[in-house]
Symmetry: C2
């Protein structure tokens, strides 16, 4: 008889957990101790039923009649998402975009730290960006392997994105956040997410009719 294996939790549910976490941290900052699926939902424009069902995938986090203990729920969600630890991240591309990303202060307290910045252009090498010195892509594979870095942010020109992604995967990277406005194709066991502000803007302009 085959092992009964529980079905994987839908990716779309996983994608909402960071939003819940974000909202919960805010509620915590506001000094609240307890919340409900309804309160959370109205903040996030998500139905309360949706939130209850999403959370129920991971066990009974709430109390009937009371709601959810905010600090408890934060802890559990962080554990589920594995952000109750600090992940080192490699940033590739030290141009405008890369520099901006490296200065962004929002990573630290949500589980991420930029460990290295890489660039291929000789004039960037050794340049100081924040506390980092830009390193050569030649060193990239070795450093990623050595320091067991699993996550990379890609901020290189679109024309180079695929080639760099291939190198990253080769070096052991398992998740890529791609800021280049181009799709990259990687092994199925490597996660990729995209940041493309213009796509969001274009999405919205569709609705800007009178």
């Amino acid at each position: 008889m085959p092992d009964k294996v529980s079905p994987p939790i839908p990716d779309i549910v996983i994608g909402r957990l960071p939003l819940y976490l974000r909202a919960l941290k805010r509620l915590e900052q506001e000094g609240k101790l307890v919340t409900s699926s309804q309160e959370l939902g109205s903040r996030l424009d998500i139905s309360s039923a949706q939130i209850r069902k999403d959370l129920s995938h991971f066990g009974g986090f709430g109390k009937q009649g009371t709601g959810y203990h905010i600090d408890f729920l934060i802890e559990r969600l962080q554990a589920v998402l594995q952000v109750n630890q600090e992940w080192k991240v490699a940033l590739v591309g030290a141009g405008n975009l890369g520099a901006a990303i490296s200065h962004y202060r929002g990573f630290q307290d949500r589980g991420f730290r930029i460990a290295h910045i890489f660039d291929s252009s000789p004039e960037k090498l050794g340049e100081a960006i924040g506390e980092h010195r830009v390193r050569s892509v030649q060193e990239m594979a070795a450093l990623i392997a050595e320091e067991d870095i699993k996550i990379a942010m890609l901020a290189v020109p679109a024309s180079q994105a695929q080639a760099v992604a291939d190198q990253l995967v080769q070096a052991g990277i398992r998740a890529i956040l791609n800021y280049a406005p181009i799709n990259i194709n990687v092994r199925a066991d490597v996660e990729v997410q995209y940041i493309d502000p213009v796509s969001h803007l274009q999405h919205m302009t569709y609705y800007l009719r009178d």
Copy 2:
């Protein structure tokens, strides 16, 4: 007898159009003239059936046996998304993030131009960022109304995001791209999209188990 009104096109379909457009422009740059749902799909990791069905919402853009004429399809998608014109955008927040956004060169040739940069802190006022001088939020409502700006990018601290969003909507803004890691609540007829790199990273860490 009530008018028969065609059902709205699903938002999820609209959200994919910018990706199609992006990929098509790339194909065009590569010198290709014609493509197929299959080629497009394999580049985007989307099924060919999905692409055909999405495009069919807007009319027969393709030719049986041949595929899609790239330049024609680009034009039609730009028209559908209304990005065959230049949209002026107001950027609010001239800190690290705002400065980075204002230096990003990817907006121009995809339909958007930053018209003004606003900030509330006195020491930022008048500061030069690229070709812009930072303007006071006091002038914001008037300028947005005067120049009929419909789109804003929000790059202020989370604590101020809701208040600024309210002002923007009041001034006539109909679409907001929010970089602050917090949900904002606005009238139903105002579009909001979010950019939160950390949420994407947290989404991926879920899968980084061995």
